[in-house]
Point group: D2
Chain length 141, copies 4
């Protein structure tokens, strides 16, 4: 069982990360070290070329990774991103976007994850990212 | 002289990148291959620990790099981020944030830049990032 | 079928990339967009802490990605690494090292891949990397 | 004054990192948080296109960053690379290569640096990299 519930995670985002909550991202699934987050495109996400703006995609990746960490170590809102590396593979149109995050390595101090973003209706990913997060003391493996 | 004016760049953002415009980021200076963007903290940018949320900082970096490209190749809104690597060095408090972007290499197809984000009143940077952008055909060096 | 054979790839490395050939890395398997490369530890790869030196692991990742590209576009030794992002997850001891590379996106100009390195006898990966390569003209998808 | 001498650093490399020593890289200058490493091209570094192989450039970057850390925290061979992000800007010919590393942030647990590699006789850099290293306990700022 994941060590945080979907409801508790969504409450945490609503109450403490308003910028992410305002994007309308929702945690859909949570496994042990995995998380799936979905977001519906909004006109204000568009950039030239009628695709979704890069930083919106980064926000989606970041919240999916944040959930994947807590699925393993429980509520720990003080987990901090230390590094994000994002490859933008193709510009996604304004449909549904789904990010799938997966823990690669959970250490005592650092967690390394990867995330892939899909644009619903297309097989190929639109974004691939890796991220490192620092783990609050006493929460790590 | 930069090949786009500050006014024209800000208009482009207002009209075509509403998500960035809504953050309240302003292009303050533009050189040849350099750009300085400033943004005032807003309560909705906060994350646990009373610091600014990572994706907001990424948006700031991205817009500064977008400006730095156009300073060299002129208006070219179809420049696309292909890779961003962001090191979050310390969590910035909710003050003024300033991003300084600088071209490292402008090629025919790809532009590589770096950007540093400072939190006003502190000497040490809060974010360091490198980014690669694909250049629209016929715009590259 | 992969568009280059294991033998042809190994010959190319021996004749044109002596630094990699000298490491003793061997292409073990080649699929469509995937490659597995194996290397035996040697005393000269060690660094303090009795683990394998980072740049040796990078070389292993790089050659596996180079093979994965050619599995899809055929012999194309002029494919060039433009970006590598490497997460060193745990220091590997001096045993057998196996890198598995996989194409994430093959475009016209750029190929994006990921690679994971395992230390034989351990379940957990020791390195995770993503890389971008520029594709020689007329070779891309 | 740097907290390690050039001689002591070079001895450490010779005795404990034979792979790097064999490349013929030499620490030329050491400041407080900065290091300059020089390496002469050798035929075995070549790759197709008559330029220097990527992993050799990574090794050069890595040793310069390793020196830059020790310039601030003293001898600490157990500093470990946790992340390297390398942008290969242009393929360098087989001449002298010079890497300049600089500390961006020295924390308690992690150090973040950047490095630029130049090919002697050319103004423009051939490689730009950022790296994160974990600092042995009790050595950090």
């Amino acid at each position: 069982m994941p060590r945080i519930s979907i409801d508790k995670f969504e409450n945490l985002i609503r109450q403490q990360v308003p910028f992410i909550a305002a994007l309308g991202a929702h945690l859909e699934k949570l496994g042990k070290g995995t998380a799936t987050v979905r977001m519906s495109g909004k006109a204000e996400f568009l950039r030239p070329g009628d695709s979704v703006n890069g930083p919106v995609l980064v926000a989606l990746v970041d919240v999916a990774m944040y959930a994947a960490i807590m699925s393993l170590i429980g509520r720990s809102e003080m987990a901090l991103t230390t590094n994000l590396n994002i490859n933008f593979l193709r510009p996604p149109p304004l449909g549904e976007l789904v990010a799938e995050a997966r823990m690669i390595k959970l250490g005592k101090r650092l967690a390394v994850m990867e995330a892939t973003v899909f644009s619903e209706g297309y097989d190929e990913p639109v974004v691939h990212a890796t991220g490192t997060y620092s783990i609050p003391p006493d929460k790590g493996k």
